[in-house]
Structures are given as structure tokens and as C-alpha cells.
Amino acid sequence: MWMITYSEAIREAISLEMQRNEDVFLIGEDIGVYGGGFGVTEGLLAEFGADRVRDTPISESAIMGAAVGSALTGMRPILELQFSDFITIAMDQLVNQAAKLRYMHGGEGRVPLVLRAASGSGTGAAAQHSQSLEAWVAHIPGLKVVQPSTAFDAKGLLKAAIDDDNPVIFYEHKLLYKTEGEVPKEQYSIPLGKADIKREGTDITIVATSVMVQRALIAAAKLEREAINVEVLDPRTLVPLDEEAIIASVKKTGHLLVVHEAVKRGGFGGEIASIVAESRAFHSLRAPIKRLGGEAVPIPFSPELEKAAVPQVEDIVQSVQKMLGVKMTCI
């Protein structure tokens, strides 16, 4: 174990995997000498050479397609999108090709690729560089979707994503890159589809993803002072989703708050809330479910507006207070 950043944890998972497996290689814009948009791949060119760390032209559609084609023929590409917003240019290859090839071909072929993408707001990058679009890909059968919230999870989940024989979208959050955590030095795998209770509690379940896990934990610490006992559940992967863990937690606490940064309208929080509203946990709910998500606006530049556009610690605290103030009445 050592203390390293989220960014370093990702680099470690890649590096160890590339040492182990010749088929794994990197492809993307400015991932070589520049070290990637956020410095994650720094040093990997020196370690593995230009054949396995492939700087590409600015051609998201072709590099996504090249990843698909190489994966289909025996390689295991890891593609970096500097900003997850650029997935808009790669959507055909990702959604119509990578996600569907195996099914359309009746089970022939597999597409083991990882698409790493930096997502989220908070850096003043504005509307075209700050989106959280994980709901799009989570909607597409054939894709898997990962959103690590800690350095430890990032390393273990990335290992699992690389090992997976399917296209996996691995969302990294810009604000998490520099956060530190205890991480084993050796390679390890965290299975996709297993939620993690980041904090146990009895009064309310907060299902939070990515950077919102950290905010929920801070909120939980504050709420503890008011003797409110919050459980923070991090699904870690949206597809596959650990529905059982979510339902069990809500059955225990009787309250559900879902928090994500993505725009609330049409966000994946709707899926999580609905799964609970459809489940046996429905009868355990002691108040309406609540979702906190991004406002229905593009991410603005001004730091004040940018903050106001997505949930902050204070929003979580207030939502919990409100929810627990409301008592369920039987009709």
C-alpha cells in the first residue's frame, strides 16, 4: 500500500497491465510526450515506446473505430478521450459498432476495449468540456460503464475493465485526478457490478457516483453532528449495476437520495430511483425518493455559476434534512 493519486492509480493499472499483456496498448490524442490531456499517461511512452503508446491525429471517429477493429482482431486497446464530451464524435463507432457487433453477429467476435474519458465540471472548462454523459452509454446494451470515485477503486476497476471482453467506458473525473488514497502496489481487480458502501448508516441511503461520492461523504460527516446517520453507497459501475445492494440499503434505511453530477433530467439517477420504486423496497420507503443532479443548463464558465449548476455538499445536507423532516403518512 502507498498513498498515490487517482491519476497515478490509473497510470499504474495501465502500466502493470501493459507489462503483463502484450496485446494491451494505448491509443489517443496527445497521450505520448504530452502525457495526455490530464497527465495520466505521462511516462508511458518512455516505458513502452511509440508502437504501444500511439499518438493519433484529431480524429475521434477513426481512433474509436481503430480501437474496435483492433479489439475485434485480437488486441486490447485502451483509448483516451481528452474530454468525455468528444464522445459525441465517436458515438457511431461506440454505439452502433462496438456495442452491437457481437450481438448482430450472433455471438461471433468480441470487442475488448476500454474507453477512458475525463468528465465533469469544476475546472472552468465550460459547456463543451464539462459534461457528464454517462447516462447515454449506460442506456446502450452491449456497453459497460464504470465511474470510479477513489484512487483505490480506479486502479482495481481499470484492471477489471481491461480484462473484460466487452467495450467498457471508464469515466474519470477531472476533480478527482489529484485526490489521494491508499492503493496496493500490486495489480488487483475489483469486479464490475459490485457496489461499495463507502460509509455505513441507518437513517438514509445516498446513492452517489463519481465526485459526488466524496461530496456525499463530507455531507454525511456534517449530518452526523446532527445525529443523522447516513449510508453512502457508491455503485462504482452503472452497467452492470448492483441493484441488490441498492435495494438492500434502502430497505434498511427507508430513505433514498440519489446524487450525481450529470443533468438530472434524463440522468441515470432516474434509473436508480425507478429501480427502487419498482422493487420490494418501495414498501419500505418512508418518504418520497429524491434525486439531486445537475440543473437543466449547459455548464457555465463563471466559477460561481459553475458551482451552482451541479450538486454541492450543502445541497446534499439540505436535501437529507428535508427528507428526514418529512414523515410518511399512510393513505
Binding site: F25, D51, R52, R54, T56, P57, S59, E60, S61, A62, I63, M64, G65, A66, A67, V68, G69, S70, A71, L72, T73, G74, M75, P77, D92, Q93, N96, Q97, L101, R102, Y103, M104, H105, G106, G107, E108, G109, R110, V111, P112, P141, G142, K144, D165, N166
Partner: protein
């Protein structure tokens, strides 16, 4: 014209047979759609047999292709079994995709067919990826990416050819210029005379061939394959051809004249190759007849196989989503 690849006479006859297999396969499909007994839609490559067969003639099973919505011909040319194809067209569990893919979606990895594609231009970057594998794994295989004239106006074409060019990947970009997209005449959709001219944007050779002349197609592809295998980077081949039928099952062909269609039918690629073989003394009228008969029998058997095959069970809905 001399044939460049070192093919035996039986091999040359086999190409002739493949052309007929394609023609008859698509004629059968046409018939079934007309009769209303086939689901979905389809795109026939009748009249374009020389491009698929000629190009694939120089490939081995290790070499790869990516195909298009108009992909039956490519599949047959690359060695697919017509019974499994026919079964797929009928949505049967014995089909290439167990009935899940239909006309536009099947692959045959054993034979190097990475799959047809319903997205115009969608296969081009995938072919580049396959060629990247060959380069990284130091394999000798080449990949041919087939696509239409219309596809060359997609961004994916541009990005993919450029990428292959700078990385000198072993891929042949094979444009079947059949003069039209769905209804759009290519000469109104580009402002240059030949699609092959676009090679200039990527610093690669651009070659124009008569797409209805199998030998010409084969020779050009042979030379291209030599070139790309030597690590000299990709090549763009433009084969001028014509689809005899409508774009898909429900096309009234208002965008072109019957005269134009008749003109192209006088340039039948199968007849031309037949004439060539006969001239060279490789084929007799007799053998030609026999081959055609054989093809008809194969097709009847394929239809029988397809019709008798079971439908996929409903559980199949959920399989193959993830590996």
C-alpha cells in the same frame, strides 16, 4: 489481359462460379422479397459481382475484409456458405448470426470477413483497426475495406484513410463506385471526376479500375496487396461499376433512366469474365452450363436448408449481448 496473381485454372473457374453464386443468391433474395416472404430489407449487388470476387481472389483466409449494407457479394467472395447466409436472411437459428443480424449483419471470422455494416462508412475505421493489429502483431495479413461511392463523403472515410496512411497500415480502401448513393448521383455529390483523386489528400496511391472487369479488378488488388504488405502504406482503389437493381427493396429508381440501366446491363461482369475464360480456353460453354446448374442446385439446397431450419428460441434474445 494477363492475370497477375498465380492462380490455377480451377481457381479461375471457381471465381466464375462465385460470381454466379452471388448473382443467384441475390436473385433469390429479390424473389423472396417480391413474394413478401422475407422480413426486413436488403441491398442487392447484382451487376457488381466482379468487384467483390476480383478483389477477394487475391486474399487468403488470414486476410480480412470489412463490408457494407450491400454485403452479400463480399461475403460469398470471401468464402461464406450460402446456406448459412440464406438461413440468416430467413431469420433462422442456423444463420450466420442465428437470425439476429439479417441481411446487413453477419461476419465470418474464420474466413476473415469482419462483417457487413448498416452504417455507411462504418466499416472503414474498423478495417484500419484490423490492419493495426496486423502491424502490431507483425502478421502478414492485409485488410480490404469495401465501401460505396457515397461513403466517401462520410467523415469516417477521411479520418480512417488518413490514420492508415500516417501509420502505413496494410489496408486497401476499395471503393465500389456504382454511381449512386441511395438516389444521389455521385457526380452531384462530389466536385471531382474520380473518387480515386481523393488519395491525394493522404499521400497514398489512388487507382481506377473497370469494376465490371474481374481480371482488371483482381490485378489491381493484387498489386495493391503486394504494396501494402511491404509496409508501404494503404492504397485507394476505385472500381467503376453499377447496381442493376434498386437501392433496396422499395426503390422506384426515379433518379436514373432505363437507358442508363440497359447500357450497364450490356456490360455484365459475369458475361465479360465468361468471355475471357472461354477466349483463354479455360472454360467451355459446356462447363459454363454445368457450373450454372451446380450453382442453381446449391442455391436450391440453401433455400431448403434455410426454410427447414428452426427459428431462434426466444431465449436467444438475451444471449450474445456481452462476451
Amino acid at each position: 489481359m494477363e492475370i497477375l496473381p498465380n492462380l490455377t485454372n480451377p481457381e479461375l473457374l471457381h471465381l466464375y462460379k462465385k460470381m454466379w453464386l452471388i448473382r443467384h443468391f441475390d436473385e433469390k433474395i429479390d424473389e423472396f422479397f417480391r413474394k413478401g416472404i422475407m422480413h426486413g430489407t436488403t441491398h442487392l449487388s447484382i451487376g457488381q459481382e466482379a468487384t467483390a470476387v476480383g478483389a477477394c481472389a487475391v486474399l487468403t483466409d488470414e486476410d480480412k475484409i470489412t463490408s457494407t449494407h450491400r454485403g452479400h457479394g463480399h461475403a460469398i467472395a470471401k468464402g461464406a456458405r450460402v446456406d448459412k447466409m440464406m438461413a440468416e436472411m430467413f431469420g433462422k437459428s442456423t444463420g450466420y448470426s442465428k437470425g439476429k443480424g439479417g441481411s446487413m449483419h453477419f461476419s465470418d471470422l474464420e474466413k476473415g470477413n469482419l462483417g457487413s455494416n448498416g452504417i455507411v462508412g462504418g466499416g472503414i475505421p474498423i478495417a484500419v483497426g484490423a490492419a493495426l493489429t496486423a502491424k502490431m502483431k507483425k502478421q502478414k495479413d492485409v485488410t480490404i475495406s469495401f465501401f460505396g461511392d457515397g461513403a466517401t463523403n462520410e467523415g469516417s472515410f477521411h479520418e480512417a484513410v488518413n490514420l492508415a496512411s500516417i501509420w502505413k497500415l496494410p489496408v486497401i480502401f476499395f471503393c465500389e463506385n456504382n454511381q449512386y448513393g441511395m438516389s444521389s448521383p455521385i457526380d452531384e455529390m462530389i466536385n471531382i471526376e474520380h473518387i480515386a483523386e481523393r488519395a491525394a489528400s493522404y499521400g497514398i496511391p489512388g487507382v481506377i479500375v473497370d469494376g465490371n472487369n474481374l481480371v482488371e479488378v483482381m490485378n489491381a488488388t493484387y498489386e495493391a496487396a503486394e504494396h501494402v504488405r511491404m509496409g508501404k502504406g494503404p492504397i485507394l482503389i476505385e472500381a467503376k461499376t453499377y447496381r442493376w437493381r434498386g437501392h433496396s427493396k422499395s426503390d422506384k429508381r426515379k433518379y436514373r433512366s432505363r437507358e442508363e440501366e440497359r447500357f450497364w446491363q450490356t456490360r455484365d461482369p459475369i458475361k465479360q469474365y465468361e468471355g475471357y475464360l472461354i477466349n483463354k480456353g479455360i472454360l467451355t460453354r459446356e462447363t459454363a452450363k454445368k457450373i450454372k446448374l451446380e450453382v442453381r442446385q446449391i442455391m436450391e439446397a440453401a433455400v431448403e436448408f434455410a426454410k427447414r431450419s428452426p427459428k431462434p428460441s426466444i431465449e436467444e434474445l438475451y444471449t450474445d449481448v456481452y462476451a
